[in-house]
Each structure stands twice: as structure tokens, then as C-alpha cells.
Symmetry: C2
């Protein structure tokens, strides 16, 4: 495998990066829900932690029945078992990224993993 | 640990999310290099794959001596051993996220890990 790979993501409704750039430690999707739209189902995970970042717009996440407001710059960690669903606001599309990683898989990081 | 945590990231030069929202499968930083600025060192990793997303601006990554142009919407996977350094363009700041995950740690994902 190459030492690096690059892809450019524009304005697709959903792009999945794992296969595009051969990720081995995460799956990452880049998503846009139209205004008033939502992911059409509630879901949870078996072993993956999900991390969401809101890139543009406004919306709501419902997590285990709790409503969480979303705006640009928000980041969320959601535990595997939590039941989640995402909604764009009625007025603006919601652009967000979703990062799936195996819960508890990270060992060292930054100063304990870097070689400078 | 709570089933979810949220944080709002605004325009800090660098924010590190691992401790802020108690990530267990990744470290994620949100970074802004000023125009003409760069990360002041070359680095590699022991066991972490890094995934970069360019959120705003333009710049260059130098990866094992190869120059890679960067613009909004670009995503990069970089293998642990690759030597990397990031530069903002002379004209625009470079806002990017960096995701550290343990190489080869992902098992199932999306349809094989989700519970709908």
C-alpha cells in the first residue's frame, strides 16, 4: 500500500472514505442531509464508537431519546450501544462527518506515538 | 462514561478532542495554521495511521519528500512510517483536522457493525 493516498470530496450526498483511500483504522463518511431531511432510521453499533463533526448548517441528534442541538463546530462522541438518529433543520442543510473507530482501540497518541 | 458527549470548537489554533469528549478509539485535533505558517517539525508515527481533512484554505503537505497540494475537501490517509509536514499557503490560513487511529484496528463497519 502507498505511504499516502488523497481524495477530494465535493458535494455528494454521502461519500465513504474507507475504500477510496484504503483506511485501516476507521471508516469515515462525509454526509449532507437536505433541509428538513433526516437519516431514515435509528441505529446503534456492535463495537464501534462514532464521532460526528458538524461542518455546516444546523440540526438535531436524538440519542437514547435525548434531543441534542447541532451547529457548525460541534463534535460528538457516541458510545456503540447508544441509539442515534440525525435530522437537518427545516431551514438549512446539515453537512457532517461521521468517523467509526473500534471502541478502546487507541493505545498511544501524539507525544507517545509520534517520532519527531 | 456517558453514552455521548459534545463539545463546540470555534477558532482556536489547535483543539485536541481525546480528553475533551473522552474518545477511546481516536485522537482528533482541529488545527488552523496562519497564512505562510507551518507545523514546525517533520514527524512520523510508531503505530498510528493519520487521516487529514482540509476544512478551509490552501496549503501543501510534504510526505516522504513528495509535495502534495491541499485544498478544501481534500482527505489524506498517511501510513505511520511516512515523514510528513504541513504548510499553509502564503495567501490563506489552512484549517484542517487530523485523526489518529491505530493502524489495522478497524474490524467491522457500517453494515457489518450497525444495529438498525
Amino acid at each position: 500500500m502507498n505511504n499516502f493516498e488523497k481524495v477530494s470530496i465535493t458535494n455528494e450526498a454521502r461519500s465513504e472514505l474507507h475504500d477510496l483511500i484504503h483506511l485501516t483504522g476507521a471508516e469515515i463518511s462525509v454526509n449532507t442531509l437536505p433541509q428538513g431531511g433526516s437519516v431514515p432510521f435509528v441505529h446503534a453499533h456492535k463495537q464501534n464508537e462514532e464521532i460526528y463533526a458538524i461542518l455546516q448548517g444546523e440540526g438535531t441528534a436524538v440519542i437514547d431519546g435525548e434531543k441534542v442541538s447541532l451547529k457548525e463546530g460541534d463534535w460528538l462522541r457516541i458510545a456503540p450501544a447508544a441509539k442515534r438518529q440525525f435530522f437537518a433543520s427545516a431551514k438549512k442543510p446539515l453537512k457532517y462527518i461521521c468517523i467509526q473507530v473500534k471502541e478502546n482501540s487507541l493505545e498511544g497518541y501524539t507525544m507517545t506515538d509520534a517520532i519527531v
